[in-house]
Symmetry: C2
Subunit: 190 residues, 2 copies
Amino acid sequence: MQSEIKNQLLDSAQALVQSKGFNGFSYQDLSREVGIKTASIHYHFPTKSDLGVALIQRYRTQYIDEVNDIATRSIPLREKLQEMAQMYSKSLQNEGKTCICAAFSGEFHSLPNPVQDELARLIDDGICGVERILESGKSSGELPLQADTAALSQLWYCGLQGSLTLARASKKSLLRDTVEILSGLTLEAV
Amino acid sequence: MQSEIKNQLLDSAQALVQSKGFNGFSYQDLSREVGIKTASIHYHFPTKSDLGVALIQRYRTQYIDEVNDIATRSIPLREKLQEMAQMYSKSLQNEGKTCICAAFSGEFHSLPNPVQDELARLIDDGICGVERILESGKSSGELPLQADTAALSQLWYCGLQGSLTLARASKKSLLRDTVEILSGLTLEAV
DNA sequence: CTTTACCTATCGATTAGTAGATTGTTGGAG
DNA sequence: CTCCAACAATCTACTAATCGATAGGTAAAG
């Protein structure tokens, strides 16, 4: 198990990335929030790149667990998709946080290479997660066997990430509307 | 008409935002690219906030013009949608640039307030632009009159922004696939 | 007596931004 | 036509703050 301080640092860093982006916060911000000096943060995460990588790794494993949990639950596919969407809408309502995936992606070419690589894995697993949910709809007969779940899951993931991120600046209910129309298209589609 | 240097500054700043985000570049970077000292840049844009606002304003008017041009052209709706998508895929292929809309949005809570406000307008106009294209498909009979173009245009815009941004980190052809499946769903939908 | 987890103190680089001098151009007034 | 004032656009030089990161010390735990 991770040390308590390390988890607190990751918690704070994650919240900061989700609201301000990776270049939008500093070790000083973390220092203030967690209550240890910036030099001590370097003990846990020698470079900011290390912090970024650890951040994405932890987020990814949490995401996989949550989505797998949703995919295997005994509820209609429509509800599974809504639950997944709720993972995002919760953090959006709570201080307007977007997904760290979209936050990192927007600054892609300013990221340290190890962070870029880790981000690629997060996106892949993100899409796979949605696909696993959609596939569960095939086994249950809610989705036709010939449905292109690979393409659909890409659309879902990109649509979720996009609407989640844009929703903070727009007055429109982008996330809710996107989920609604995607659900409709998915469940009635060919 | 704007001064030549001012346009060069905006050009460079735009490219930098699209690849590294608003917090990912400095006046020093602009100085190197344009060839005037950082102090001289402050003459044209007193603060970085001013630069950000000007950037979005210029981008927005250009976007509106381009999309209106596409919407009124005498080509099938499917081709209109592909042309719009090409606006994005071009800059993606050229040095992996995302839309400044998504770039700014990811860092939302670290942006100066005037930039946040201007960003909101960009997103609104972005969605309206897509809706205008879809509406032109109603007049031509390619889209049923009862099609919910408001919701569809939101989905299109969020999907485009999301896939465009995520595509830089992923090996998947997210943008192309997203456009393809969205075109299919739009043109065959209820 | 080594390791863990913190500290103080400091580093050089970079950040956005300012002050004030110096150019080039332009448009009158004599 | 010439001089001069005004202006726009750039420069040099600087500031205070902040950035990520390092060095070296300390106290406690095993």
